[in-house]
């Protein structure tokens, strides 16, 4: 058996195929970990922007509050914002859950209201306070 033939034999052996599977599996695992790391990269936001029909108002996420917008209530609690009451028929905004990371948003199409967490581009921190 020549050296070349020996190489071919090893290449086609079941053990080599198993190694291929292991290498491909490892690659997939690494890619998955990378994807998760990138997806969860957004930091905790410091403010929330509430846009009602084009008009935007900003609120600090560090103080608990209930902001009443007529059609719906936005509750800010423990650094998270969520729709706590809604009068729209589908109630999807209420089911959207809580948002706290920069870039996360809740959209209520019937009411034309968008609630999004700032932090990356608008506010990174806040100073002062209200009373």
């Amino acid at each position: 058996m020549t050296a070349k033939e020996r190489v071919e034999k090893v290449k086609n052996s079941p053990l080599a195929r198993l190694r291929d599977v292991v290498v491909i599996g490892a690659l997939v695992a690494v890619a998955a970990v990378a994807a998760v790391a990138i997806a969860t990269r957004g930091g905790r936001g410091s403010a929330v922007a509430i846009t009602v029909r084009g008009e935007t108002t900003y609120y600090s996420l560090s103080k608990d509050a209930v902001v009443s917008l007529g059609e719906l209530d936005v509750t800010i609690e423990g650094g998270e914002a969520f729709v706590s009451r809604s009068t729209c028929p589908d109630g999807l905004c209420e089911k959207s859950g809580r948002i706290s990371k920069a870039g996360e948003r809740i959209v209520c199409l019937p009411c034309e209201i968008v609630i999004s967490v700032c932090g990356e581009s608008e506010f990174d921190a806040v100073t002062g306070g209200g009373a």
């Binding site: 108002t57 990174d124 009373a131």
Partner: protein, 362 residues
């Protein structure tokens, strides 16, 4: 097989590098109470982030142990209790803060006065008084306040060096010190130096609203710091400042205050009236001033200076306060109780259509 292995190894290396780059762009984010109700929030990127954060926490603890008026063992508490001529050993932080306080007092012509601790206690607006939530049994009379004001003079305090140690000495027993209007800014400035020594390239350090930023934010742009409307119920943000390296500090009557007879007594004292900012004496008691500073945000390079200047602006009022900022080359935004607003430098404004307060720009 060998060739395949090499290709696979290169691929794995490439993918892990990419994923690491992805992680690297994110910030090391931590939030922790460092001392009595003060929360240190940090976002750091580059170098030894964890090491820098631990060093910042340790620093905040050290400064509190040195200057806290609630700890009887602190350098400043012992100094306040000492009599004239008695030497009180001062650590590095107390020495540096003394220098900063003296400079700030001179720079503001006394509008920032670091010797009002006894007066704060008399008005019940010191930490213990505010925490109790109740006004003092007896408010200081005009002559009592004047007596306390007479010894509120930093030139009666000196640093004495002997055998390699530094001591704080007063020439009058009644002199007291209070670095509360500077300590958070000092911690932020020192935190910036710590970050640099740990190789941290970008960051945002906030000590209960005393903010300092450097480098670039998460999107690789300039940092944005929002200013909260002082009369909003829900911390609505009305203005914001954008920049690369700066600090933003706010003083006002919106926190740490008590109310008595419908008058708000806040923790910021005026060295001119020797009463809390916004409080005036009447024949029968006290009333709220018609127009006083309810929030003064100061923006500039040094956080300790911003801290001192914001207190000075609150005491000086809108016009003179804005003048002081212009002279010092610091930016700021000032709100008054009658709904006036003045900016020094470039601030951006959020829409106030949904807002609760309409401020008139003056």
């Amino acid at each position: 097989m060998t060739a395949r292995k090499i290709v696979a190894a290169v691929l794995v290396a490439l993918i892990s590098t990419c994923s690491c780059l992805g992680c690297g762009r994110g910030y090391f984010v931590r939030s922790d109470e460092v001392f009595a109700g003060y929360v240190l929030d940090v976002k750091l990127r580059g170098g030894n982030e964890e090491g820098a954060y631990e060093a910042m926490k340790a620093l905040a603890g050290e400064v509190d142990a040195s200057v806290s008026l609630s700890l009887p063992s602190s350098v400043i508490s012992r100094f306040n209790a000492a009599s004239a001529g008695e030497r009180v050993k001062a650590d590095e932080h107390a020495c540096k803060l003394f220098g900063l306080a003296k400079d700030a007092c001179e720079r503001t012509d006394g509008a920032f006065n670091p010797c009002l601790s006894a007066l704060s206690e008399a008005w019940g607006v010191d930490n213990a008084g505010i925490t109790s939530g109740k006004p003092p049994e007896n408010f200081p009379t005009e002559s009592e306040a004047r007596t306390l004001g007479e010894s509120a003079d930093i030139s009666l305090v000196s640093l004495v060096e002997e055998d390699g140690e530094t001591y704080l000495v007063k020439s009058e027993s009644a002199v007291t010190l209070d670095f509360g209007g500077l300590a958070k800014g000092y911690i932020a400035d020192e935190a910036r130096a710590i970050a640099a020594s740990y190789g941290v390239k970008s960051g945002c350090v906030s000590l209960s609203g005393n903010v300092l930023v450097f480098g670039e934010n998460e999107s690789g742009g300039e940092w944005g710091v929002g200013v909260v409307d002082p009369r909003s119920k829900f911390d609505q943000i009305c203005g914001f400042y954008r920049g690369g390296d700066f600090s933003a500090v706010t003083s006002g009557d919106y926190e740490r205050f008590y109310e008595a007879g419908g008058v708000r007594f806040c923790h910021v004292l005026s060295p001119f009236t020797l009463a809390p900012v916004g409080v005036e004496r009447t024949e029968s008691g006290f009333k709220q001033s018609d127009d006083y500073v309810i929030s003064a945000t100061v923006v500039g390079a040094s956080s300790a200076t911003c801290d001192a200047l914001s207190t000075a602006v609150a005491a000086l009022g809108l016009e003179r306060g804005a003048g002081l900022l212009e002279r010092c080359g610091y930016d700021g935004i000032i709100f008054t109780s009658s709904g006036k607003m003045r900016t020094v430098g470039t601030f951006k404004f959020a829409s106030s259509r949904l807002g609760y307060t309409e401020y008139e720009r003056v």
